[in-house]
């Protein structure tokens, strides 16, 4: 079973329409909504975990794109500044997805972007603000 977490940005014309439900009905793809919000300019923002056959997910993503939905993997919007991070581990006690974890016995703090759900809890917890999230940028800001 293939599973990935995506950030979807819905243009304002689509943010009030039922689109995601079709993923189950037509594409046999299960979804888990990790975050959903409407931004000030009426664009929709959603963080979704999609689970299903790889081909079905690809087709489902194409379907979403046909509505003008922009799709990114969470790993492209959350990053760790490795120059700032000093490998303390304060984030590892807070990360609910175990995307930030300690590799033993080295005690190195690892960031596994595939596991990251984009919740952003690590951002204020990091003592040196090494975690950066650009989730709340509007679609237009991203295009600019």
């Amino acid at each position: 079973m293939y599973s990935r977490i995506y950030v979807l940005r819905f243009p304002r014309e689509t943010s009030d329409k039922p689109i995601i439900s079709k993923l189950v009905k037509q594409y046999d793809v299960e979804f888990n909504i990790l975050k959903a919000t409407i931004l000030p300019h009426d664009e929709g923002l959603m963080v979704l975990e999609l689970t299903g056959h790889k081909n079905n997910i690809r087709e489902a993503l194409d379907y979403l794109k046909s509505f003008g939905v922009s799709i990114e993997s969470v790993s492209t919007i959350i990053r760790r500044d490795d120059d700032k991070c000093f490998q303390c581990g304060a984030c590892t006690g807070i990360c609910p997805a175990s995307a930030l974890y300690v590799q033993r016995p080295e005690m190195a703090v690892v960031f596994d972007t595939d596991k990251c759900t984009g919740c952003g809890l690590c951002v204020p917890v990091c003592p040196v603000r090494a975690m950066e999230v650009s989730l709340d940028q509007s679609v237009n800001a991203l295009k600019a």
């Binding site: 000093f86 303390c88 581990g89 006690g93 300690v102 003592p127």
Partner: protein, 389 residues
């Protein structure tokens, strides 16, 4: 004092360092060496054990002299990037505390505050070569007529800059838990409710004072790794408590000894001095410190061979007990358990996380080992040992 079978002096060890013959290992490496060979044989073979710690360390800061401008000024209040510094020293001498937040910081008005910038960040910016805005106001005197001055400074511009930390290198510290039913934001990090996680802040077997638990080899004048450069121990630190409860191996199992350290800021680096923002608590500073322990006899060798499994600390509640002087702990745990990622408190498994970087502590111990091996860094004979202070 009991008789030792092996005795060495710092002068003898230095002679070996100069000849390139000294055997230097890190505190992590020493664990296995003592376990396999015993302390006596380890004392014969090993000359110096290097330690390291890189962690948020409150009670750190810098004395800066920013030079006169014309007309001259006797600065009464001074800000660096809007972070207030203490100016009641002399005309252009200030002390910038690492834990001082920027003056316009919203603090905890919207809880929990972010505390994005403070004295520690100013020191890090200076070390990174960045320009820092300095503002000074004064009441004006005949000899210092100016009443207001603003200029941009860099570390290179400053006539003098000295890192002076009244309390670093806590010898052991509490492991923090939150037994209340809401998330709390502390100097030990963010603690989830009902004991969901614990945070600790010591590098364990790599930590300087856990390798010389009775402070018998270091003291006033001991040369150390400080902030990426060299510095010196100048006294024990504030809150130094040598009488804390100890195990049979002499390591304390409660917060105990501390060090006061200082060094020339200009030869340090932003990689080893970092501004810290503790959500809901405040700003502070992370400092990299490494202390070389001379293996003077088998007793010291035994101490430096201590392992994470043999160093204990207590789990303390930070939602109520710690702030109300309640002397109660919920578990006694070893650093081996803490570093495993999970401990048991009241029969329940709890996730552990560290505020102290073991990766960087190890790097410091390795850098210090290489400095000594190359002959560049010799040990200094303390003018007064900390155990005699």
């Amino acid at each position: 004092m009991k008789e030792h079978k092996v005795t060495k002096t710092i002068a003898e060890i230095n002679e070996r360092i100069r000849k390139g013959e000294a055997v230097v290992v890190t505190a992590e490496e020493m664990v296995g060496i003592v376990r396999e060979n015993g302390p006596e044989e380890a004392a014969r073979r090993i000359d110096v054990v290097t330690t390291g710690t890189f962690s948020p360390m409150c009670s750190s800061g810098a004395f800066l002299n920013f030079g006169q401008t014309l007309p001259t000024i006797k600065a009464a209040r001074v800000w660096l990037n809007n972070v207030p510094a203490y100016a009641g020293l002399a005309a252009v001498d200030i002390f910038l505390g690492g834990a001082e937040p920027a003056e316009d910081d919203p603090l905890n008005k919207v809880f929990p505050g972010e505390f994005r910038y403070g004295g520690g960040h100013v020191i890090e910016d200076l070390l990174a070569g960045k320009k820092v805005k300095l503002k000074a106001v004064a009441y004006g005197t005949d000899c210092y007529p100016n009443t207001i001055m603003e200029k941009e400074i860099t570390l290179a511009d400053l006539p003098n800059a000295l890192l002076v930390n009244p309390r670093n290198c806590y010898q052991n510290y509490n492991c923090a838990i939150n037994l209340s039913d809401k998330t709390i934001y502390t100097y030990m990090g963010t603690l989830r409710p009902r004991g969901k996680n614990v945070n600790y802040a010591t590098s364990g077997e790599l930590s300087p004072l856990l390798n010389d638990p009775l402070y018998r080899t270091i003291g006033l004048g001991s040369k150390i790794f400080l902030g990426g450069g060299t510095g010196y121990i100048t006294w024990h630190g504030t809150q130094h408590n040598p009488h804390a409860m100890r195990l049979a191996n002499q390591t304390p199992c409660r917060p105990a000894g501390t060090l006061m350290v200082q060094g020339e800021l200009k030869q340090m680096s932003a990689r080893w001095i970092k501004g810290i923002s503790m959500q809901g608590y405040g700003t502070t500073i992370a400092v990299g410190v490494g202390v070389p322990i001379p293996v003077l006899n088998e007793e010291i060798a035994g101490y430096t061979g201590v392992s994470d499994a043999e160093i204990m600390t207590q789990v303390v509640d930070y939602s109520y007990d710690c702030s109300h002087g309640v002397d109660r702990n919920y578990a006694e745990v070893s650093y081996a358990e803490l570093k495993s990622g999970q401990i048991e408190v009241n029969g329940r498994k709890v996730a552990t996380a560290s505020l102290s970087s073991v990766v960087r502590a190890r790097e410091i111990a390795e850098i210090l080992r290489e400095w000594i091996k190359s002959g560049d860094f010799t040990l200094t004979e303390p003018v007064k040992l900390i155990c005699d202070m």
